[in-house]
């Protein structure tokens, strides 16, 4: 894992002091709420419906056990005893007092954490593959490149007031587990035919009200020019992205309106200029960072199987665990989606328990996934049963990774001041209703957004649900066929929307159509792609 040196630590410490000063000036009335708003937003502090919400950055989703424990302690000390893990691999707290926010940042800084740029029209937390360092199919661990981007993007003086927020993701395997092409910039680290390391740049993807899949604008940027190329992409956007309409201000609109070729031409011209400015960190810096992501001391010769006599355990192991690059190890996903629960929520005690498990069984590491779950990346198969027993006892043993109950949902109208409809109760009802048939239905990614901003990624759901306000009544639109990953696609709306109970029935009907039409080992998405929308429409509206 990355460890701060004195420079990194001084940076977050200075930020705490700065924010304390800003909050003080606001509380004293020296600055207006309008002037304070962008400052608090750049520290991840939102004013929501009932209280302030603080979003804490978890760079590329990686946490140590000490950091995780602090997240649990903060939930107890400053919030109502729980936290909410987000689709940007971050955590947010929903019941924060403005005057205590600087103290939270100070506590975070003691474990090398912060809330820098978790909001605002700047470069947000860079996300990555939650199985980085454990996945068998990665070319390299993508996190050193994400860390290089974290440092470059932290307080970048030119890019604090972009037209709109800006999200980057870095992966290093062919299988995309980070929805890379649905980002403002998606980077895939790869090797070219000559074996040299480089970065493929996908620019202009995103969800929101105009979902777009990012086109590849350069299939190979030499790795020692990745930061310079990123800066060129950002500068063109900062200068020419639309600022007249916040709904058309994301880079995807610029790339779309200019056309990929013209945007690329402008980036290449800026890149050629910036190459003369020596802004790229040297190879030694990348090596310094990469050394901190070296493999933990895996043991050789540990058993490569585990006892499966407990059927509940075997089901969980088969559902929630992924193969590891090292024999005898396995990557464990802890589902934060119990049937009827709030997706992504964990209590302070659960957070601390996961920290303990990471310390005892996973080389002190955890990951937050963009699907709002937690990963223990490096568990010995011999320890798997013990890990499961402790999870199960804490209500964390749900076996539903990528099943219909593993729902991504935004906070919705229960918390968010932008929302048009509630997301959480819909997620709770669906998981409650369909949990008993989860294993029969198999892989099915269901995603719910409570407004058109699409924080719940509904465009990318095999089943997507969008909450809208129709004449003062919450109404839910259903879409089918969305997908993130290598075969990224956007969902299509089935037809007229449903009320809250109607949408639960509609989801159930869609699963019935799938099961009736399923051939062989087809997943829901495969069947939908083969048979098309017609049979689903017939069942829903016929």
């Amino acid at each position: 894992m990355y460890k701060y040196d004195t420079y990194d630590q001084a940076m977050v410490d200075a930020r705490v002091a700065e924010f304390r000063d800003q909050v003080h000036r606001r509380l004293e009335g020296h600055i207006t709420e309008d002037q304070f708003k962008p400052l608090r937003l750049m520290n991840g502090l939102y004013l929501q419906l009932h209280a302030y919400m603080l979003r804490v950055a978890v760079p590329y989703g990686t946490l140590s056990s000490a950091q995780m424990r602090m997240l649990g302690d903060i939930a107890d000390k400053y919030d109502r005893g729980y936290g909410h893990f987000t689709t940007r691999q971050n955590i947010q707290y929903n019941w924060i007092k403005l005057e205590e926010a600087p103290d939270i940042l100070a506590d975070l800084a003691t474990v090398e954490m912060h809330a820098i740029q978790t909001s605002g029209n700047c470069i947000r937390n860079t996300t990555s593959d939650q199985y980085a360092g454990a996945a068998a199919d990665e070319v390299v661990d993508p996190r050193p490149y994400a860390e290089l981007i974290r440092q470059w993007s932290t307080f970048h003086p030119e890019f604090n007031f972009l037209p709109r927020k800006f999200k980057m993701a870095v992966i290093a395997s062919e299988t995309d587990r980070a929805a890379m092409r649905l980002h403002d910039i998606g980077i895939r680290i790869l090797r070219n035919a000559a074996g040299a390391l480089g970065a493929a740049f996908y620019v202009g993807g995103g969800m929101g009200r105009t979902p777009m899949i990012a086109p590849c604008i350069r299939d190979f940027v030499p790795i020692d020019q990745m930061i310079t190329y990123s800066e060129a992409c950002l500068r063109v956007y900062n200068r020419y992205g639309r600022r007249d309409n916040k709904y058309k201000a994301r880079i995807k609109i610029l790339v779309h309106e200019l056309g990929k070729d013209e945007y690329t031409r402008q980036v290449e011209a800026e890149f050629a200029h910036l190459l003369t400015q020596n802004i790229e960190p040297p190879g030694a810096e990348l090596e310094r960072i990469a050394a901190m992501f070296a493999d933990p001391p895996f043991e050789a010769g540990v058993p490569d199987s585990f006892e499966r006599s407990d059927p509940a355990f075997a089901l969980w192991a088969d559902t929630n665990c992924l193969p590891h690059k090292r024999p005898g190890y396995i990557a464990v996903t802890i589902s934060l989606k119990p049937a009827g629960g709030i997706p992504g929520d964990a209590s302070a005690d659960q957070i601390r328990l996961m920290a303990d498990l990471a310390r005892d069984y996973s080389f002190d590491e955890l990951r937050v996934t963009h699907a709002q779950n937690i990963v223990l990346p490096h568990v010995r198969k011999a320890d798997l049963y013990a890990v499961w027993q402790r999870l199960e006892a804490a209500g964390l043993g749900t076996a539903n990774l990528d099943r219909i109950g593993d729902i991504i949902a935004c906070p919705g109208l229960d918390y968010c001041s932008l929302a048009n409809a509630r997301s959480i109760p819909v997620a709770q009802k669906i998981s409650q209703r369909l949990a008993p048939r989860e294993q029969e239905i198999g892989e099915l990614k269901l995603k719910i957004s409570g407004c058109i901003n699409a924080c719940g990624h509904h465009h990318a759901g095999h089943i997507g649900i969008l909450g809208v306000d129709r004449k003062g009544v919450e109404n839910y639109q259903l879409s089918l066929g969305g997908c993130e990953g290598a075969d990224t696609s956007l969902g299509q709306i089935t037809g007229p929307g449903f009320d809250e109970d109607g949408i639960v029935d509609a989801v159930e009907k869609a699963t019935q159509v799938y099961l009736a039409n399923k051939q062989g080992s087809e997943r829901f998405l495969d069947t939908y792609r083969r048979v098309g929308m017609a049979p689903f429409k017939e069942a829903l509206y016929g």
Binding site: P38, N121, P157, R243, Q277
Partner: protein
């Protein structure tokens, strides 16, 4: 026109207000020009040797195009005064300074103590710009 409140230069300030980029093209004797957010800073590059003052206007603080304009001018070797005008707030001035601004004429004057603290807040920085500060990676590796 707001007064210059902070200036990090020793030369004599230019008294004339900046002319628009369009007017500048027609007035071959103008030495001060004012850039609006929609102007292309690169239009000025052929004329940098006769410019002594460039005002970059921030009509609203949230419009960040002026930061790129400033860096483009400095990267091209512009050595004259680069002045931030308009809605220039205390929490933006350190970033502006790093992008190459060396004079500040905020519409609403800033509290001098707050401004001094803001300029000095971050001792070291991650990115190289043309402000002359060595980035942290250079401090780490020499």
């Amino acid at each position: 026109m707001a007064d210059v409140q902070f200036r990090f230069r020793n030369d004599e300030p230019v008294g004339d207000p900046g002319v628009t980029v369009d007017a500048f093209g027609e007035q071959s004797n103008a030495s001060a020009v004012r850039l609006e957010p929609g102007d292309d800073a690169r239009d000025l590059l052929p004329h940098l040797d006769r410019i002594r003052l460039i005002e970059v206007n921030f009509p609203v603080f949230g419009d960040g195009r002026g930061y790129s304009a400033a860096r483009i001018l400095r990267e091209a070797g512009y050595g004259g005064e680069l002045r931030a005008v308009g809605e220039v707030l205390v929490d933006q001035i350190a970033h502006m300074r790093r992008c190459g601004f060396d004079a500040f004429a905020p519409e609403v004057p800033l509290d001098p103590a707050d401004a001094e603290a803001a300029f000095a807040r971050y001792g070291d920085v991650y990115q190289p710009t043309t402000d002359g500060r060595a980035p942290i990676w250079q401090l780490r590796h020499g």
